[in-house]
């Protein structure tokens, strides 16, 4: 899991904290270029998390990401650049997605079709299998409760430690472990059921 966490964190761990502090300070003083640099640094985190929380609906995920960054811009003056910026961003992302899930009527997720697997360029069969698996997992994620899904996405897909997930979601570590374990069991059972149907 540790290895996964490091891989998932990607380039974010390489970026010095001091550089981020400086960027936030510049953005606070109205430097749009600095704010854009923050966007570039965190857009994958925010959009990816939103996509997984909202169920592969790219347009909604883009809306959510925009809202998150606009909230960031509005809250820049109150933001303590020395505190954990990523956690704050995750928390806002989860909150924005939760609000969107509560008010929206889901649109069909057609937008991702054209962008799939470009970076792999695998064979056609492999591509099809991978696409089916992804859809299966997205369908499985849809069976989870809002809290289970958030805990699972942050822990298993973003690679955040359970304690930090609890902090982001504003709950206890025990609760997060409960949500994560029940979510994993539900997904495993859903995948199992679907696989049997196909046979």
């Amino acid at each position: 899991m540790q290895e996964l966490a490091l891989v998932m964190a990607g380039g974010r761990l390489d970026a010095p904290e001091e550089q981020l502090v400086l960027l936030v300070k510049r953005a606070k003083s109205g430097d749009i270029a600095a704010f854009e640099e923050i966007l570039e640094r965190y857009e994958r985190q925010v959009l990816g998390t939103a996509l997984r929380l909202l169920g592969r609906n790219l347009e909604d995920a883009k809306d959510a990401a925009q809202q998150v960054f606009l909230r960031l811009h509005r809250g820049l003056r109150q933001l303590d650049e020395n505190r954990q910026f990523e956690s704050w961003l995750y928390r806002v992302t989860v909150n924005v997605c939760r609000d969107m899930l509560r008010v929206r009527i889901r649109k069909p997720a057609l937008q991702l079709e054209g962008t799939e697997h470009r970076s792999y360029a695998p064979g056609a069969h492999e591509m099809m299998v991978r696409s089916e698996q992804m859809q299966l997992i997205y369908d499985a994620l849809d069976t989870l409760s809002e809290r289970e899904r958030a805990a699972l996405v942050l822990r298993d897909l973003e690679g955040i430690a359970t304690k930090e997930v609890a902090r982001i979601l504003g709950t206890s570590e025990v609760t997060v472990r409960c949500h994560i374990s029940s979510a994993r069991v539900k997904i495993r059972k859903f995948v199992d059921r679907q696989s049997r149907r196909r046979l």
Binding site: L4, L39, H73
Partner: protein
Amino acid sequence: MNCAEFEERIALFVENDLYDAEMTAVERHLETCTDCREFAAGLRESQAMLRGLRREPLDDAIFADVRSQVIRRVSNVRPAPMWPKYAIAATLLVMLAAAALWRTRPAAPVGVPAVTATIGPGPALSASRTPAPVQAPQIAKTTGRHGRAKSRANANVTLARQNIRPSRPAHPRAVNAEPLVVKLLTNDPEVVIYWLVDQNGG
């Protein structure tokens, strides 16, 4: 503990999310339970599929689109202008200065009888001016004077001291301050303008 109760522990076990003591307990159970071993194998498989979402590629154009939208909206947001703060501060200063002047003003003359006077040119315009030009000492000088204006007067002005006293004076010295009523008679007999002058500068 039966197998159903082990399910959620196994779900944490497969990702090393259990504490050491719990790990040992699950390992021991898995050694003896075939069903739970199968369940654990299935969990590892579904977890691997789940992690596959991490590699879901997203086109750079999608990020560029989000970024440009945000930057466009953020660029339109200008910081709140500072001038209202300065305007409020300036207004407060003026009010404070006016209050200070009010307290330090000279006492108004007491017991001045009712006076009337005729003021020369442009009374219609004078009616709309601030009452500052009409000072209490000047009124005293004009006491008892009547007459018409030499130049083209288009209105007669009557100054009269009225016995109007404020019921609750704002300041002890204001007790003696009586308002001066300026009556402007225009060429139209049906139009009479009354101009109430506060001699205390208010």
